[in-house]
Symmetry: C2
Subunit: 414 residues, 2 copies
């Protein structure tokens, strides 16, 4: 059975808002063995909504509508589905009492327009919403001789997710043939997307029953593998086989085998080795420290660091000799090494990272163009420096540089 | 005339990718006076694509399809539109030559399947694509007696944007009645969304011909005003009137009147006053420095800073007395002030910022719960400290704290 998702709300037709609920729902449906074949966004317009619901009923077995269950006259999802299916709505006393109770329990009085949130499609199961006033609705049965499931869910993501998990997932599973779908995610650092694809496509293309998706960011690539088989063991064996073969091909460029982020993996290795790290950043301006400390518990291995934008501060906080900066320039192999060594010494850390470069868009020269970054890693076995020319804008260059620095720590410790 | 946007591609029906081209196109269309009434995402499936195009032709005057113009057999947008409109495709020699030339100029040989990118809808104008092989197509004329414009654009955002700007905007303008639409954006720091709405709704609701949109982030709120009138002067006067009235109500909580970010405004004030700033961050872990240095040219006013996660480093890099930390705890009003003063002195900056708090999810106590943050600002007129309890998760708390710190600088200098 295929599914489609209709997101309802005029705010989703502005330049400012995008429908993200459908990403969550797609993931959930995929796990149940259901493919999403169509998504749409419709404004708060009864005629458009009815037409969208009718087209969906014609095309798909499972239809999920999100949003448009509020109390205002713009909230028309209930009315539209009733009209599309040709069934009446009735106000359900029990639901109305629950909404009134919800208001009363907060010391508020329910305003009269909230009563329409108790309007239920004839034959629908009410899905209680613990996080909001609008209940969801579940309707299953034959439409023109074909089995259909129509689900109405509230738009706010935290309400929608809680309601899907508590009320929809198992109901759907019971209606569907058993699905045995296994997934694996590999993450790769500092290799180009086309380079990775050229190396791994000959592998994953041998497995026509494994669906492979490649997602690329600045310096990070994710490879998603998915397989559906007659048993869970068979599905798992299948994705493991392709993931293992791809991992063998890419070697230690693969930093994660089960979805963990690079920041988490770096934290894992630092704790594993009983090591600490300190950073001295110029062009990344705090991004490297920010990424390391985005992980809860990072105080166990992150001592701290310095953001040394001015040359004076490179000397003052990270101990880079002023005459070295004068001789080689602030953006140089020597200064990257000195930043790493200086901050390591200053912070008494096991490892020191230093980054200096030109993030742009201004400040580039013929010999030191925008995108040139030096990354230093100091440890008790010495200091290594990697020079790279990154493409892209300021944001992308800073992201690339911080990813490379994190990956240097991983490779040092693994 | 209304528009609808159809994004084509099975990758947009996975849990990983969302259609963002439509946000850009909606903004562009709105500026031309066109409302987007429907958006959809369709996979690489001819039957679904034809149905989607037919529904769109029935509902909307302007139909933009994005993606599905590549060279593979999954790229079916051309074929689907031809079938939906009942017109033939023909391979255009000139377009084919241009594609062959594009390959040859890079020293590559065109593979045979690329030839299908030269298939043009009968009567369509070819829109040359400077950034890729697939040209766009523009078709206008009557379908069942009603005027329609159908536009095919490539999916990669940089190709789509360049092509829309160079080939579509003025063509559309010429086909549409003149639209006089003025917009204004106000940005507000550190006020709650419901609080802001309660204060400004009585104002903007008096202007039924001004469309108001409120967008909320962690500590930042944007108010978008849009008006369409018979002349540009009238439209501008209308949004100015409501924006000015809202600004009067919110006072100096409004930090931006023309779309600039808080980071840009803080940089503006620092340069305006010939001032510099340095930061010492604990719980924000580099985020504050990262936000300040996200602005190109920030080296003119940002000296640098320290990320002082460990207590030892709070003393070592920012000069916080160890006995102060022992007496009051690292998360305290006193330490926030000492961080601000210490880093200001150490970096010889005009202003010093210090942040210390509990970002969570672990590390909270009964007296110092998750979300408690102290923000210090030191200057030659003394040191102020603001204490706040922020809601939300680690990421949100860090974002709130860095926004408040930036806003302290703005209020100090304005």
């Amino acid at each position: 059975m295929n599914a489609e998702i209709i997101a309802v709300g005029s705010e989703l037709l502005t330049p400012f808002r995008t429908d993200t609920n459908s990403l969550y729902l797609t993931d959930q449906l995929n796990q149940l063995g259901v493919e999403v074949v169509f998504k749409s966004v419709v404004g708060d317009d009864l005629k458009h909504l009815v037409a969208a619901a009718q087209h969906a009923l014609f095309r798909s077995g499972i239809i999920i509508l999100t949003g448009g269950l509020g109390p205002t006259e713009d909230d028309l999802t209930r009315e539209a589905v009733a009209e599309a299916l040709g069934i009446p709505l009735h106000r359900e006393a029990e639901v109305l009492a629950a909404i009134e109770h919800r208001f009363a329990s907060r010391g508020w009085k329910m305003s009269p327009n909230n009563a329409k949130q108790a309007d239920i499609l004839e034959g629908a199961t009410v899905l209680p919403n613990a996080n909001g006033t609008a209940p969801g609705q579940w309707l299953s049965g034959k439409v023109e001789g074909r089995e259909h499931i129509v689900i109405l869910l509230p738009g706010p993501p935290h309400e929608l997710k809680a309601l899907f998990e508590s009320e929809c997932r198992e109901r759907l599973r019971a209606k569907l043939p058993p699905a045995y779908i296994a997934t694996r995610v590999l993450k790769v650092a500092m290799l180009g997307e086309s380079h990775v694809d050229a190396r791994v496509a000959p592998i994953y293309k041998q497995y026509c029953d494994v669906q492979t998706t490649i997602l690329a960011g600045a310096g990070e690539i994710e490879l998603h593998f998915k397989s559906r088989r007659a048993t869970m063991d068979a599905a798992q064996a299948c994705v493991d086989e392709v993931a293992d073969a791809v991992e063998d091909e890419l070697g230690d460029a693969v930093y994660s085998r089960d979805g963990q982020s690079l920041e988490q993996i770096v934290g894992y290795w630092l704790q594993m080795r009983g090591a600490t790290v300190a950073v001295a950043e110029s062009c990344t301006g705090g991004l490297l420290a920010e990424r390391i400390t985005s992980i809860s518990g990072s105080s166990r291995y992150f001592v701290g660091g310095a953001v040394v934008y001015s040359n004076a501060l490179k000397s003052e906080l990270a101990g880079v000799p002023a005459d070295m900066i004068a001789r080689h320039g602030a953006v140089s192999r020597e200064v990257a090494a000195a930043l790493a060594e200086g901050i390591r010494y200053r912070c008494e850390a096991t490892l020191g990272l230093g980054i200096t470069g030109v993030a742009g868009p201004t400040g580039g020269t013929a010999t030191k163009p925008v995108g040139l970054v030096y990354h230093g890693l100091a440890s008790d076995s010495g200091t290594e420096v990697i020079e790279r020319n990154f493409p892209g804008d300021r944001k992308r260059i800073r992201r690339f540089a911080s990813t490379l620095a994190l990956d240097m720590v991983r490779k040092k410790l693994m």
